[in-house]
Subunit: 421 residues, 2 copies
């Protein structure tokens, strides 16, 4: 499992708008008040040691936080412990591991997650209820709490402001490249830092798919403001990606606000607007990176659906993004709008006759449910690029949504069919 | 497109119960009162001519019928014409073509479907409103009504009692093998014949997936009885298969009852029970054949879900059957129950903690949401066979459902990504 550093700017998609007051810091690093590190503890059964346990700590006692979890009906032990045993609006540390999801592991799994939490609390010098825990990897296998403890111990000795890259590496599973960024955000009261480390691959891993994201800022936010901003931005990012229509047992997003910059983000202020825009761009690019990082994914699609009611707009967007026919067409660079039409019809049973338009990369291919003549050669050219956009108009106005999705190619089958657990 | 005759018995799955009063007639043929034929009209743009237009006729004026259509919100022209312009309880003929779905073709498509209906009516000597039309193939391309007319003309000259094989061939698209059967059903009043010709491939075709099935019997059924039996048996067959979670614009099932045997199937009689059992076995085997006929499909899965409420039972069964993770594990002969657990959780968001058991091929692998020790070697052996069964128990009793599903392998990607339209 070698981490591939990505060359070039973090914000690389035409679909992510970055406000002028947001600037990427290519050198990385954590906002003031935070330290992180990782250890190769041996949770992952690899020949060469790789980072698999990470620790993230805020040194500011007044740190506020917000969290979001998977909606799955089957929750992993670390999700249960963080959700039920933590002060989720005042977290100060995160203990995370990869290589084992600690899911479907019962009481022993809960005990392992609680021990991980207690060990990290002692090492970070904070109350246990202020430590979130997160795991990703194989499910149904007991997590060795002793191995994780040794890893946390080793990581604690390495905690440092530029430990974000190692921490990001420690939460990766099948990710082909790292997903992290550090931003400077110019607010009316001064410049704050905003950083995030995420993991997740567009196509689901051999054993399990999980999306984890840890976000840190040295801006001062009340827990309510942090929760509000995280809620809105997660809905516009990690909630808008389709990998294969699957929900993980372990998905976790944590936002920690140390306040160490002394710059406040007050409710309904210009600072809140700007900070929210930065957080939005950060999480949307990370979500898109998760889609892009499908093992073997050649290209990524974005479907935008507009119409007069929220429910059909959302159903159509998800149906298109989850359709294996649309995904294989994206992989094959085939501008086959019939598959889009089929997904629309399937998403809205009983709605015939349905009036809809479809455009691919700005070219209308279907109007009022009927094919229109289009320049096929130009279309084929357009859908062979790295990003392909589909726009569907349903009757009415007022609602619009988007979903990012990966293609479906040979490597998805290779990785998911030929590995055995 | 060469049709492969299947060797061996039609009823080949351990999952289909065949009552002792049902007997396959390996020589095929249509029930009394019916004639069918096909023509190579050239709708399919193949180098060598292949059957692509079919005609099926009942010579009995008192023929009754029942129909079921796709629930898609985008309906093809032949579906609209059959649904809206036909006497669907008294159909006497079917005109069908492959190579073009006549979908998303607007007013011109409706006119082509109506002409197909009128031409067939003249050739069959029946009213136009007693002719159903059906199409399957590429969508968004205008259907040349003249080409179809010439095909119907040629087919009409060949109409015969053993024309069922040609008729079945004429409706095939990417099917790798033919799907048809002729049965003798022993009723208290005498023996009747029951035949069916179907098309559909478990994995969706390069251009489009459609499931068509035409069923004929010489038993005498009232239109109400035909409708009741078709409704119940379609729900237990074609409604219980997952190919890739997609709905077609063209799916059509037609049951025609000529009554030529003189044996009546009266409501709530022993005859109705027996006839219903035969129809049920026939349609379930055909539905399973559609799943088996995934291009490149190695094996087929059956998931049975039991529990205390209909909605979660159905949601879980469909989530498992539609999960690309479960499908690739089936392809790879990997007894990975974690993927089943993940699909269960995803199907029932917010239901944590969820109590569930999972058994694979009779071996319990998960109990109360927790993995249990199992003989992995034996399990791996069991999931490498052609049919693999998964049983999920949710809390409560009283509801049970099943879904048949195909695996997901390289050839699905090859066929769906590398063809262009």
């Amino acid at each position: 499992m070698s981490v591939i550093r990505r060359e070039g700017p973090f914000f690389r998609s035409r679909w992510i708008e970055v406000a002028p007051h947001v600037r990427e810091l290519p050198e990385g690093g954590l906002p003031a008040g935070f330290r992180a590190a990782a250890a190769a503890a041996g949770v992952k059964p690899t020949a060469d040691p790789v980072f698999d346990v990470g620790l993230l700590v805020s040194d500011e006692p007044a740190t506020t936080s917000a969290v979001r979890f998977t909606a799955s009906g089957v929750l992993a032990a670390p999700v249960l412990v963080t959700r039920d045993d933590c002060q989720v609006d005042a977290l100060r540390a995160v203990a995370a591991n990869s290589g084992n999801a600690n899911a479907a592991t019962g009481e022993a799994g809960l005990e392992a997650a609680r021990r991980m939490q207690r060990d990290a609390a002692v090492l970070a010098g904070v109350d246990a209820e202020r430590v979130a825990v997160a795991s990703t990897g194989v499910i149904g296998v007991e997590l060795d709490a002793g191995v994780v403890a040794a890893g946390l111990d080793a990581a604690a000795r390495e905690l440092r402001r530029d430990g974000d890259a190692d921490f990001a590496a420690a939460i990766m599973t099948t990710d082909a490249f790292e997903k992290r960024a550090t931003l400077a955000v110019e607010l009316p009261g001064g410049v704050v830092m905003l950083a995030a480390q995420a993991k997740g691959a567009g196509m689901i891993s051999p054993n399990f798919a999980t999306m984890l994201c840890f976000v840190e800022t040295d801006a001062a936010l009340s827990a309510e403001t942090a929760d509000l901003l995280l809620g809105v931005t997660v809905k516009r990012s990690f909630d808008r990606i389709s990998v294969d229509g699957q929900l993980s047992t372990n998905d976790t997003v944590v936002l920690l606000c140390s306040g160490a910059s002394g710059v406040e983000v007050a409710p309904e202020s210009e600072a809140e607007l700007r900070f929210g825009e930065a957080l939005d761009a950060l999480l949307r690019q990370l979500a898109l990176d998760i889609v892009v990082d499908g093992e073997g994914a050649r290209r990524v699609g974005r479907v935008v659906v507009r119409g007069g009611a929220a429910e059909p707009v959302d159903a159509v967007a998800r149906a298109i993004a989850n359709s294996p026919l649309v995904k294989t067409a994206l992989y094959g660079a085939d501008p086959n709008w019939g598959r889009i039409a089929q997904a629309i019809g399937a998403a809205l049973p009983g709605s015939d006759p349905l009036d809809f338009d479809i455009a691919i990369e700005g070219t209308t291919v279907c109007e009022g449910g009927l094919g229109v003549a289009a320049d096929i050669a130009a279309l084929e050219q357009a859908v062979s690029r790295e990003e392909v956009e589909y726009v569907v108009d349903l009757p009415g106005d007022g609602f619009e949504t988007e979903v990012f999705f990966s293609d479906l190619g040979y490597d998805y089958v290779r990785i998911n069919a030929e590995y055995t657990t």
